[in-house]
């Protein structure tokens, strides 16, 4: 029978520069996120979660799933370069596959949400893939919340990728700690969005402030 589902995608930079403390922090935070969302009845019924990792190419590490039915989350592992275009193409393809599958199962779907986490500069141009992902022609275009961490990341790139909210490392914390705060913000967003009552609906909610990060202006799409 049809249900109303809110899909969340965590898209995580796995480039070589994320090796060590940054990737370790993400991997340590995942079980907490899993527990908090999977055991929260408000959210567990309504949201589904997917993880996509990217470096030179992109791969789906966790298919869109009901977290209360997943026994453990995959880990992210550092690899090569930073191809935003591969990530954005993968996100679009996966969203299309997932939503069409959910619709075949007679469910209805809220506009998906992408949390895009990166520490670096994209290795090549990505505007074409981004335009395709956020275009009005793409019925399932997601809300994108972008997080830039570390001191190499370009604020203008983070602002440009986001469509809803953007945050950049403010340098007050180590990347490891900042990533822990990111994971808390991601969890809070999922819980708040699933819980906030606006009728039977869903409004994307993200924390206004995230410790260790500065909020950036987002260009309206």
């Amino acid at each position: 029978m049809g249900q109303n589902i809110l899909p969340f995608y965590l898209v995580c930079d796995e480039s070589g520069s994320m090796a060590g403390a940054p990737i370790d922090s993400i991997n340590e935070a995942m079980p907490k996120l899993h527990h908090e969302i999977g055991t929260n009845p408000v959210v567990a019924d309504k949201t589904q979660f997917s993880i996509i990792g990217f470096s030179d190419s992109a791969e789906v590490l966790l298919e869109l799933s009901d977290l209360s039915r997943v026994t453990s989350l995959p880990t992210v592992t550092p690899k090569g370069g930073t191809s935003y275009s591969a990530a954005l193409r993968c996100i679009k393809d996966q969203i299309e596959l997932d939503i069409e599958r959910l619709k075949r199962e007679d469910h209805s779907v809220y506009r998906p949400v992408v949390f895009f986490l990166t520490d670096g500069h994209p290795s090549a141009d990505w505007r074409t893939e981004w335009d395709a992902l956020v275009s009005e022609q793409f019925n399932y275009r997601p809300h994108i919340v972008a997080f830039g961490i570390g001191n190499q990341v370009d604020a203008s790139v983070i602002s440009s990728i986001a469509t809803f909210r953007a945050f950049i490392d403010d340098g007050t914390m180590s990347p490891a700690m900042a990533l822990r705060e990111f994971a808390v913000a991601l969890t809070k967003s999922i819980v708040m969005s699933g819980s906030k009552s606006q009728g039977d609906g869903m409004t994307l909610q993200t924390p206004e402030e995230v410790p260790g990060f500065k909020a950036l202006k987002v260009e309206q799409v």
Partner: protein
């Protein structure tokens, strides 16, 4: 309050809540009626029962119960009304934001549903004010009766003014008291044909239905939703919007005219078992209020909004 889990401190255990009350997961499933809690479709993680009392603010003007029921028997038809708080509000301890009202005089029976959409729990106040002001408004009822068959629009300025006046008085922003509004003014049946005319006024997304032989027909205009698009949840609402649609429906003896909040309306097309069970309650006669509540309030996974159903089953032809 216990500390959150931290290095060196113990993690709170289930059953360790202050006062010794059992943790949420230990609360037994309540029975509803003689059949236990109904579920349509997949089992839900969200429990059906409230797990904490709601903060009852004085500005709500009354102690707001989880569920409201009302009913009426007349020669023209049988009315049943139920408004049940959704799983989400039960879990979070927030008030029910749906409201309904009934009115009766020699010219008409009036059914009203209002679904509060504003924040800060003030949506309920807007919904209650809209419903009760309309039920008491001879002028609005008269305008509805005089409307005639052609669809058109009607301005609900008096309802908007009533909501805004209370907002000013109590320091509540108008937006926070936003509410949908649907009203049916049902005339006595025509003696020759037995047909009944109902004038319907609608502002926002609380839908209107006819149930005939257990089958549902939606009577208001369904918003255009493309097959390959995503859910949208925005709606027009009082008090900031005042232009409502008005049109007339002709109903036959034995038909049920139902006004619902979208908490019920969204389930009807998506869960056939729920729709069938709710529709079947009205075949032959109107249901007992408690039977109506059992079905309206059944567990349907991901449908967690407040649920209101107000129906009139028109008398069968003598």
């Amino acid at each position: 309050m216990r500390h959150q889990a931290d290095e060196g401190l113990a993690t709170p255990r289930a059953g360790d809540e202050p006062g010794g009350f059992p943790a949420t997961t230990d609360v037994p499933s309540p029975k509803q009626g003689g059949t236990g809690v109904l579920t349509f479709g997949d089992a839900a993680t969200m429990p059906p029962a409230p797990v904490k009392l709601t903060e009852q603010r004085m500005r709500h003007l009354e102690y707001l119960p989880d569920t409201a029921l009302d009913w009426l028997e007349t020669t023209a038809g049988s009315i049943r009304a139920v408004s049940a708080r959704g799983r989400l509000h039960r879990f979070s301890g927030e008030v029910r934001q749906d409201s309904f009202a009934l009115a009766q005089d020699e010219d008409a029976l009036v059914l009203i549903v209002a679904d509060g959409v504003g924040g800060e729990s003030a949506g309920h106040i807007g919904a209650a004010l809209a419903a009760r002001t309309a039920a008491n408004s001879r002028a609005l009822i008269a305008r509805a009766l005089a409307h005639g068959a052609d669809p058109g629009s009607i301005m609900l300025s008096e309802l908007s003014a009533a909501i805004e006046a209370v907002g000013l008085d109590r320091g509540i922003p108008a937006q926070a008291m936003s509410t949908t509004f649907t009203m049916a003014v049902v005339s006595p049946p025509a003696s020759a044909t037995g047909a009944t005319t109902a004038a319907i006024i609608q502002l926002g997304d609380s839908p209107v239905w006819r149930i005939r032989d257990s089958a549902w027909t939606r009577l208001d205009a369904v918003p255009e939703a493309e097959a390959d698009s995503v859910l949208s949840t925005s709606t027009l609402a009082l008090p900031l919007h005042i232009e409502a649609s008005i049109w007339s429906e002709t109903l036959s003896p034995g038909d049920t005219l139902a006004l619902t909040s979208d908490g019920v309306g969204n389930i009807i097309p998506q869960n056939a078992d729920y729709a069938e069970a709710l529709g079947r309650l009205w075949s032959g006669s109107a249901p007992a209020p408690s039977d109506l509540l059992s079905v309206v309030d059944a567990t349907v996974r991901t449908f967690e909004d407040d649920r209101t159903f107000v129906g009139i089953r028109l008398a069968d032809r003598a």
